[in-house]
Amino acid sequence: MNIRYFAWVRERVGVEEETIDVPGNVKTVADLIAHLKSLDENHAAAFEEDEAIRVALDQMHVEQDAALGDAREAAFFPPMTGG
């Protein structure tokens, strides 16, 4: 699965984009966040305040309890500050 990070989430993880293998027991966005946190310290730091993190699956906003389904891209980022 393609994973993208933006703003301070990106800075903490240390990469803009990465491709990861999603284990079979990872069904929801929350599962995916837990999995990413387990990868290394950077990911753990990025998702420390995980309730603050917003998520998009295939470029659509979703909640953290959303199923990953057949999404090809997940993106993680802080609350938006455009405009």
């Binding site: 933006f6 470029q59 993106a75 802080p78 609350p79 938006m80 455009g82 405009g83």
Partner: protein, 159 residues
């Protein structure tokens, strides 16, 4: 007649006159046009620039989705949303929203709605860079913006 919103995400500045003409020229059905311009502000004189990061692809897609919601909700004759990205210095434009309609209430409400939704839903993030040269700081999302966006769901529930 289906109205197609014009959505652009670009590093370049925009020209409000040109965008206004695009929505009005050669037409007789536009009675009211409301435009909102958001600019980079720096009263304190401490900011060297805002850096606007965005999610390419999703930024455009989300602005189109918000525009479609506005078009379903108000009888508009045209709608334009332009959001810049990259480095923007104080005094420069950041965002432009123009709503055109036969009547002024629809144009005002649609532009207001669009800005509220854009602020909380369009994937853009601002980082402040300072004159002092100290490392950049990500701007925090404002609770007020979420409350502003919620006004439109309340209205929907009441009607």
């Amino acid at each position: 007649m289906t109205v197609r919103p014009l959505v652009r995400v670009q590093p370049e500045d925009f020209d409000v006159r040109e965008e206004t003409l695009r929505l009005t020229e050669g037409r007789k059905d536009v009675g009211a046009l409301v435009s909102f311009t958001g600019l980079c502000r720096d009263e304190a004189g401490t900011l060297s620039a805002l850096e606007l990061e965005h999610y390419p692809g999703m930024a455009e897609a989300e602005l189109v989705r918000i525009s479609q919601q506005a078009l379903e909700r108000w009888p508009l004759t045209g709608l334009t949303v332009i959001h810049r990205h990259g480095k923007i210095v104080p005094g420069e434009n950041i965002v432009l929203v123009i709503a055109a309609s036969a009547h002024r209430r629809a144009a005002f409400e649609a532009a207001d709605f669009l800005m509220d939704y854009l602020k909380t839903r369009a994937p853009f993030w601002k980082k402040e860079h300072f004159v002092s040269g100290s490392g950049g700081r990500w701007v925090d999302a404002k609770t007020g913006d979420t409350e502003d966006a919620a006004r439109w769901t309340e209205k929907e529930n009441r009607s």
